[in-house]
């Protein structure tokens, strides 16, 4: 976090924000103008009419009805104009269009539950499509809260015992803060999260995947992704080549090594041959393969081994679209864990500039875990 971090305005990312900002800046402009009038006026008079100055004092005035009326009526008219624009903006904020997509929010000490109309649920994160009006219907389970998205310029109280509503149309894809903005007890400041505005197609996919940024993957699928990512297929094709043996159907076969020893290709052998290829160099090949010790996570290795086991069988026909989509960078997470962190842990997280902000961005979706029970 840079000390020289001086943004002057929040992002403008919704239709409400687009309507809000011109009114706000006009009011600020007017305020700055009148502040200067008063400041310069006061200083000018204080200097010009300081005791002993030569300025003319003849015929001082003490009461003047026209002047009084002028500076009563002009502020009154300006006030009424401001009132009109503020009220018109307010009415817009309070009247959601009929075709809005409905979502539901429950506030409780100290997290936000969000439910989409098709049953997808998430905590402290709200996924919304860009370009379509979204209407939130909200209620609190305990004390007062307030649901506040600064980048959208929307805020509404979340009250126990009654539904409140809020609507907006996101205009810019991205991630923005959600804050609880009604004091609600000990961890009030940590009752927040983010709104993720997605392109409508991505959002539809996310929603149909049950709230996953990608469809749940089997280990083999995840392994195929790693296989493609580190380009194993450059050398290890469907046939043995000059550079490398084919891995198709390798699992369970006996391998003979350059030093004359041999082993059955089990999981341990496969893993070992990735992280330290020269422990068991296959007979007839040179030392051309990179050493992947420390380059791949154990998770990647598990998935990779699972994929290699099925290479050459129909199970390995992983749809390439998944691979392609998954190779696109994404930081969209599954759900947000509501784990409460101690102040010390937070402190540690903040001191390290490279550390991922701890609570608000949850653990990345793990294909292997997500696949369980959801694999279609």
């Amino acid at each position: 976090m840079s000390f020289f971090n001086f943004p002057l305005a929040p992002p403008n990312a919704s239709n409400i924000a687009q309507a809000y900002d011109p009114v706000f800046y006009a009011l600020v402009g007017l305020s700055v103008f009148f502040t200067f009038v008063v400041c310069i006026g006061a200083i000018f008079f204080a200097i010009r009419y300081r005791a002993g100055s030569t300025a003319d004092r003849s015929r001082p005035i003490y009461e003047n009805l026209p002047i009084e009326l002028t500076w009563t009526i002009i502020p009154l008219i300006l006030g009424l104009i401001m009132f009109y624009f503020g009220a018109a903006l307010f009415v817009k904020m309070k009247t959601p269009p009929k075709e809005s997509e409905e979502m539901f929010v429950i506030g409780k000490q100290w997290m936000w539950h969000i439910q989409h109309a098709n049953g997808v649920r998430e905590n402290n994160t709200l996924h919304v499509p860009v370009g379509r009006p979204v209407k939130l219907t909200m209620i609190s389970q305990d004390v007062l809260h307030a649901f506040y998205i600064p980048a959208f310029r929307v805020q509404m109280g979340v009250v126990p015992g009654r539904y409140t509503q809020l609507w907006f149309t996101a205009t810019q894809p991205g991630e923005y803060h959600i804050f609880c903005n009604m004091y609600c007890g000990t961890q009030h400041s940590e009752m927040g999260g983010k709104v993720v505005a997605m392109n409508p197609t991505e959002y539809a996919e996310w929603l149909s995947n049950g709230g996953q940024s990608v469809a749940p993957m089997s280990m083999e699928q995840a392994g195929a992704k790693v296989y493609a990512k580190v380009h194993c297929d450059n050398c290890h094709g469907s046939q043995d080549t000059l550079h490398a043996p084919s891995l198709y159907g390798i699992y369970g076969k006996r391998r003979v090594f350059a030093d004359g020893t041999s082993l059955i290709a089990d999981e341990a052998y496969l893993r070992d041959s990735i992280v330290q290829p020269y422990n068991h160099l296959t007979a007839g090949y040179g030392q051309t393969m990179p050493v992947y010790q420390g380059q791949l996570t154990e998770e990647d290795l598990l998935n990779l081994v699972a994929y290699i086991k099925v290479l050459g069988t129909p199970l390995a026909n992983v749809p390439t679209s998944i691979v392609n989509r998954h190779s696109a960078p994404t930081s969209v997470s599954k759900t947000n864990s509501a784990t409460v962190m101690s102040a010390n842990a937070i402190q540690a997280g903040v001191e390290d500039p490279d550390a991922t902000p701890t609570r608000r961005i949850g653990a990345p979706a793990v294909g292997a875990v997500a696949a369980e029970g959801r694999n279609r």
């Binding site: 009084e68 004390v143 600064p150 929307v154 015992g161």
Partner: protein, 574 residues
Amino acid sequence: MSSTVIATDELKPKAKAEEVNYLNVEHTISSWLLTGDHKRIALLYLVSTTFFFLLGGMAAGMIRYELTSPAGVVLESDTYNKVFTSHGIIMVFTFLVVAIPAVFGNFLLPLMIGARDLAFPRLNLGSWYMYMTGGTLILAGMLFGGVDTGWTFYTPYSSMYSNTQVSLVIVGIFIAGFSTITTGINFVVTIHKMRAPGMTWFRLPLFVWAMYATSLMMILATPVVAITLLLVVFERTFKLPIFSPELGGDPVLFQHLFWFYSHPAVYIMILPAFAVISELVANFSRKRIFGYHFVAFSSLAIAGLGFLVWGHHMFVSSQSMYESIVFSLISYLVAVPSAVKIFNWMATMYKGNVVMASPMIYAIAFLMIFTVGGLTGLVLGGAGTDIHLTATYFVVAHFHYVMVGGTMLAFLGGLHYWWPKMTGRLFNDRLAQINAVIVFIGFNLTFFPQFIVGWMGMPRRYHYYYFAPEFQAYHIMSTLGSTVLALGFIWPAFYLTMSLFNGKKAGPNPWGAHGLEWETSSPPPVTNFLETPIVMDEVYDFDPEAEHAENRRRIEAAEAAKSDERKGSMEDHQ
């Protein structure tokens, strides 16, 4: 009425009378604690409100220190919540509401209208005891566990969820509230019934007018908050179903009742500041205030309309859309009388003879800062524009511009202005002028960054903001400013106290000001006036033209003397 005037020859010799004043007439502790003298009670209030201000200021310092880091520095979240709650409760209920009326109102109201004392001296002393009892209970609540509800005590958190000393502190506020009510009654009766002969309503100093408007609000609004807070205690203790939806109550009802008091309370805090500023601007411009009637009636207009705008605190509370729009409209109307005052004060300086003594520097700083506070209030008063800003640091900055930049600067200005009258001693005005500039700089450095960080979306009452590190730079600026501001608040305590020991004797009217309080000795005698004054002249009866001619004559004479001297010395050299 003229029969009440005591003939001059019946009085004790003047020299003797000036020696005995309200300060030195008795020296025992009981003579202070059992006094009925409004001046002594004012000093009791001055000491006790200053004490509470110190406590509230320490809490503010802890908040500012904690917010320099996005993940806090030393406090746990629970403690932080108690600290900002303490800051709010102490500053609002034991300082801002009380300070100017109970200190300067008490001291000056009888002096300004030519009365011996307030209408009910024992009730006045009783007010102070109620205030001290309430303040002690509030402090006890903070010592024995603290409160974490925020000064607003929003239900159902305060009534059903908070496990802190809510009841004790509320009882404290309840009792302190009665001190406000009795003070208000005392002032209203005094202003109606005890004006000196010739002191007609439109010869009243504007201080008295604003104090009158303040007193009306105190009497009408304070009982509402007292009852409301007591209902919170009943719901906490007896599960009386009023505010909690679990019991069948309505949490938003609390907000209506609370703000029905607390919005007028904002004017209870700022109208006395207007009172002081009117005196300062008129007396240091040495000119009758411009548009006296408009300034006087604008106070009453604020007092009246101030009761009809409470809903602008509740635009996101779930009150109906139409309600919000009506409250927004009335909020813009109440802004007009404040604008009228600002323009009239500025016009007062026009063709006056402005003396830039320390109280006038505070007054001009007030004009500038209060203007910013008022104008940002217009941004918040718009129903639509408030939605994004409500409960953010923008609001925090706004009400500190009004409360600290308004009330606190007026308090300091008034303290410097009337200090010679209260103590009979002059302080070093050069130091005071420098201090006024320090306060102005420190104040703006503290609170201006909060407008920006609030506009960016930083919520108030947040302990952590590690998820939004873009806010940090502004918090650090604000904390730096608060150290400068703290210096500006502490320093006067030293040079004013020093003046008691080594200050020159003030004389009855060191500022050359106009008003009955300056016609008696400093410090005033126990009975305020040795004879009941008869008011013959108009309020702020300065003659700027004649004074200007006199000033010029004196300056030109001095210049002539100087050039003669120079000529003379040149001739000597030749």
